[in-house]
């Protein structure tokens, strides 16, 4: 919201950066919404992937271990099986003349176990008694003394003895297994084993789909491998295999990622086949072993991507939805600010923004009203005193409508002005008029009267219209007295300059029709009626410094103002002559016609002084 406010402030003051700011608001919303959705999503997916990876890694370890263990078991079973079969030929003791039956047993064994290439049967004392082979010529009868042969010694001690691995013609892997009979008299059978035959076993061991198991001896020489040609290469690759074996052994049973013989990364574990002291290594290409892990990661990634896309779309939509109305508001405010108060912001988002738009519309409406009002006041001020204008505006505009009411009309007029105007230079004339208007205007304003207008050297002022006041007659007379005093002040100056100008005032009271008249751009407030004509005639009749009153006014003010009856005079436009009064000359205060105060006038004067003190308007 603070961004919104700041934005508004900016848009009030500067116009050019508005577009950029607007975009940044959208961007802010967009980024915030997007991040709000994507961050938890990424954290969730990454967490899932990581835990999945850990679990699968553990699984893989166990799986490979189990595979290697089973492979080792099968190798062990294969070798144990051969050992057991050899055991058959050492069940009977050596009795003279029965060598042939031992030999036949041995031949049967060869027939039974394809891996055995030859068998040497040794009697109790370590003498060779029979030799049966697939390739070489058989021998029977007493032969060499083998008592010191490691095979014989080993079998005597442990019942069964496994010889070391050797490569025939540096190619085919062979080993020797010696088995002793239960009784010493049964002798010992020493069998040469062609380990190529383990191929059947090792090739049938599947590690996953593409993995494999192979067997190495303690020095890393290859004993069995699904690719038999690798075995037949003899100990050519034993150094590498030994390294691999140590690396795997160093991991203490955990799966190790290493490089396979084709250069591809593989995961490998090893298990020892204890009876023969071989190591079975099970390896699986990383590509297969980690396939499910990779699938999990891809899945997570896909989830993140889809989530991000959805979040982006959502964020875009929301940000657009947020910033759109704000832009609309801003636009509207700008137009209202430019004075288009008739502009309305149309919004139907159904939320606070719509409410805000409505407030703006209301504001625009009020602004329009207030502008209209101030225009009207300005217009009123042209013929009303400012405070009167305000009053009229505040109370009721209909006050200005045409109506019939009792008014006091005050007319003022410069004497001998026409003659002066004919002689005077224009600038002098204008100066005189300006001074005159200024003085009259000030008095009218002070007395809250209505100045309907100047006409050359004449001025017309209304009292009690449009605003009613108390004792309008007295007010009118005082206004006239002040006006006369003010203008007489000027007249003294003018006469000093040689301008023979005087000032006369006429006041009348009576009903008249008042109201505004005019046309667009030019409206005046005026009064129409006999009273206006009468005041005008009285003004025309008045001599310099004179203030003439009609009988109505005179009757109303005779207690307050010293008046001098001038007798009945004919008035132009009137059938009958009228009794006319003049405000006593001089300071005009209760002055007799001869110039001295009357007896009653003293008291009046006293009262008038008090009135003057309290009202402050008495000159």
């Amino acid at each position: 919201m603070s961004g919104l406010l700041r934005n508004d402030r900016y848009s009030d003051k500067v116009i050019s950066p508005v577009v950029r700011q607007r975009r940044s608001l959208f961007l802010k919303y967009f980024v915030t919404l997007f991040v709000a959705v994507v961050v938890p999503l990424v954290i969730g997916a990454a967490g899932e992937a990581w835990f999945g990876y850990r679990d699968q890694r553990l699984n893989l370890n166990e799986l490979l271990q189990a595979d290697a263990r089973s492979a080792a078991d099968r190798i062990q079973t294969f070798i144990d099986g051969i050992g057991d079969q050899i055991g058959w030929v050492v069940q009977f003791p050596w009795i003279a003349g029965e060598e042939d039956s031992h030999k036949i047993d041995a031949e049967r064994l060869l027939q039974q176990v394809p891996a055995i290439v030859s068998i040497t049967l040794v009697d109790q004392s370590g003498i060779e008694r029979a030799f049966v082979s697939r390739f070489g010529l058989n021998r029977t009868g007493r032969g060499a003394d083998m008592a010191a042969d490691p095979a014989v010694l080993g079998a005597r001690t442990n019942k069964i003895w496994y010889g070391p691995l050797s490569y025939r013609r540096a190619s085919e892997p062979y080993m020797t297994i010696a088995v002793a009979g239960n009784r010493a008299a049964d002798g010992i059978a020493i069998a040469d084993i062609n380990l190529k035959l383990i191929w059947d076993v090792i090739a049938s061991i599947a590690i996953g789909h593409t993995g494999r198991a192979f067997v190495v001896d303690d020095s890393g020489r290859l004993i069995a491998h699904p690719d038999i040609s690798r075995v037949l290469r003899g100990d050519a690759g034993s150094a590498d295999l030994n390294r691999l074996k140590s690396a795997i052994a160093a991991a203490k049973g955990a799966a190790v990622v290493t490089t396979g013989d084709k250069g591809e990364p593989v995961v490998a574990v090893s298990v020892r086949a204890d009876n023969v002291g071989w190591t079975v290594i099970a390896e699986q290409p990383v590509s297969e072993a980690f396939a499910s892990i990779r699938a999990t990661l891809w899945r997570s990634l896909a989830l993140i991507v889809v989530g991000a896309l959805v979040a982006a779309a959502l964020a875009y939509w929301l940000a657009h939805r947020m910033s759109g109305p704000i832009r609309q508001l801003e636009d509207g405010v700008q137009r209202i600010g430019a004075g288009h108060f008739e502009h309305r912001i149309a919004m139907s988002s159904g939320d606070e923004l719509e409410q805000l738009a409505n407030r703006f519309n209301e504001m625009a409406e009020e602004l329009a009203v207030s502008k209209e009002k101030s225009e009207r006041i300005n217009r009123l001020k042209r013929f009303l005193a400012p405070q009167v204008a305000e009053l009229v505006e505040q109370s009721d505009a209909r006050m200005l409508d045409g109506q019939r009411r009792e008014i006091v009309a005050v007319f003022g007029d410069l004497r001998d002005f026409t003659a002066f105007a004919a002689r005077a230079e224009p600038d002098v004339l204008m100066t005189v008029l300006s001074e005159y208007y200024e003085a009259v205007g000030a008095v009218v304003t002070r007395h809250e009267a209505t100045l309907t207008g100047f006409g050359g050297d004449g001025v017309m002022v209304l009292v009690n219209a449009p605003v009613a006041c108390e004792n309008p007659a007295l007010r009118g007379v005082r206004l006239a007295i002040d006006m006369q005093a003010a203008v007489q002040g000027l007249v003294t100056g003018w006469r000093a300059k040689g301008h023979a100008i005087g000032f006369g005032v006429g006041i009348a009271m009576g009903p008249a029709i008042v109201g505004t008249v005019g046309y667009e751009g030019r409206i005046d407030y005026t009064a129409v009626g006999n009273v206006v004509n009468l005041a005008s005639r009285l003004c025309g009749t008045a001599k310099d410094t004179q203030i003439l009153l009609d009988p109505v006014v005179a009757t109303r003010v005779k207690d307050s103002v010293a008046l001098a009856p001038l007798g009945v005079r004919p008035i132009r436009g009137y059938d009958r002559p009228l009794q006319i009064f003049a405000v006593a000359r001089g300071d005009f205060h209760l002055i007799r016609q001869d110039g001295r105060p009357t007896d009653a006038g003293v008291a009046r004067l006293e009262a008038g002084r008090q009135l003057q003190d309290s009202e402050g308007a008495w000159p």
Binding site: Q111, L137, R169, S171, E172
Partner: protein, 327 residues
């Protein structure tokens, strides 16, 4: 995806003896491999059949993935030389030589050569060692020499009264001399008198049979060899006619009427050879493919022949050792 396929393929190639079955042998866009078959035998050729069967097993379709160019030069070294020069000129992916033809192939150095020899390839000079052939040759050695003595011993085991043994041998066969030497020594050690009946190639086979007939022998031993293989029926029938127990190298001889045979299964060997052919066509170097030797040897007994010779009772003592009995 392509990478994963490739890895699966590579992995498959490593344990191909199990996995490769039925797979497309190559991922490259349809290359038709040309295999040059060189033999000193004549057709019908059981070895070629075994080899073809092996390739079919690996997923090769003849005519689509692989074409054979068959060259037979039965006992004609001159014709073989002609063949070799043809091999050098042609766009050949692999040459397979069977038996004695290998000797003539030593001149080939730029095309991989697979051989199936009964002799010793190191002695012949085509490979540096069994484990690391080191050149463009590799294949299988049948271990014939080691088994020569064993065949004599088997005969003596069954027929202890044998005194004179006619030994029929094609001198146009690599390692023939060592084979004869081993046989002679074994026979003499077992108290027998071997009669050497040498002949040179197909042309002299009839002469050899005639010669053997005059040998006053009481049993016959025939060295396994392309020529005797082709004429196995004739040889077997000759032995039966003379009431001689006969001993051969491969079970095919027994199927043709021979009494006994002891040796590696030829068909299996050629069948196996196809796996090496597959690996070489996939780009492996013969130099790194060890020479394979058969691990299983079969003793075949033909009881029909035994019946014809009237030696069934003597044969019963050997039956438990037999891998294959023909009834």
């Amino acid at each position: 995806m392509r990478r994963r396929d490739f890895i699966a393929l590579a992995g498959g190639a490593v344990i191909w003896p199990h996995m490769a079955r039925g797979q497309q042998p190559t991922q490259q866009p349809k290359k038709v491999y040309r295999i040059f078959w060189v033999s000193t035998e004549s057709r019908p050729d059981p070895f070629l059949d075994g080899f073809r069967e092996g390739l079919r097993e690996r997923g090769y379709v003849e005519g689509k993935d692989v074409v054979f160019e068959l060259h037979y030069a039965a006992g004609d070294p001159g014709a073989l030389r002609q063949v070799i020069s043809e091999l050098k000129g042609g766009n050949i992916d692999l040459a397979v030589s069977s038996g004695p033809a290998t000797r003539a192939m030593t001149a080939v150095t730029d095309v991989p050569v697979l051989f199936a020899l009964s002799g010793d390839p190191v002695e012949l000079g085509v490979v540096k060692s069994m484990a690391q052939p080191g050149g463009n040759f590799t294949g299988s050695s049948f271990l014939s020499l080691e088994l020569a003595g064993k065949r004599v011993e088997l005969l003596k085991d069954i027929f202890p009264k044998l005194r004179t043994l006619a030994v029929i041998s094609n001198t146009n066969h690599p390692g023939e001399q060592s084979e004869w030497r081993t046989t002679r020594q074994a026979a003499q050690a077992l108290g027998m008198d071997p009669v050497y009946v040498p002949f040179f190639g197909t042309r002299e086979i009839d002469k050899a049979i005639e010669q053997a007939g005059n040998a006053h022998a009481d049993a016959m031993l025939v060295f396994p060899d392309a020529v005797t293989m082709v004429h196995r029926t004739k040889l077997a029938e000759f032995a039966i006619a003379r009431k001689w127990p006969s001993m051969f190298g491969w079970s095919e001889y027994c199927e043709a009427g021979g009494l006994l045979s002891y040796g590696a299964n030829q068909r299996a060997t050629y069948f196996w050879l196809a796996t090496y052919a597959d690996r070489i066509l996939r780009g492996e170097k013969p130099a790194n493919l060890p020479v394979e030797r058969p691990t299983r040897f079969e003793l075949t007994v033909n009881l029909k022949t035994a019946k014809a010779l009237g030696v069934e009772s003597a044969m019963s003592s050997i039956l438990f050792r037999a891998s294959k009995v023909i009834e």
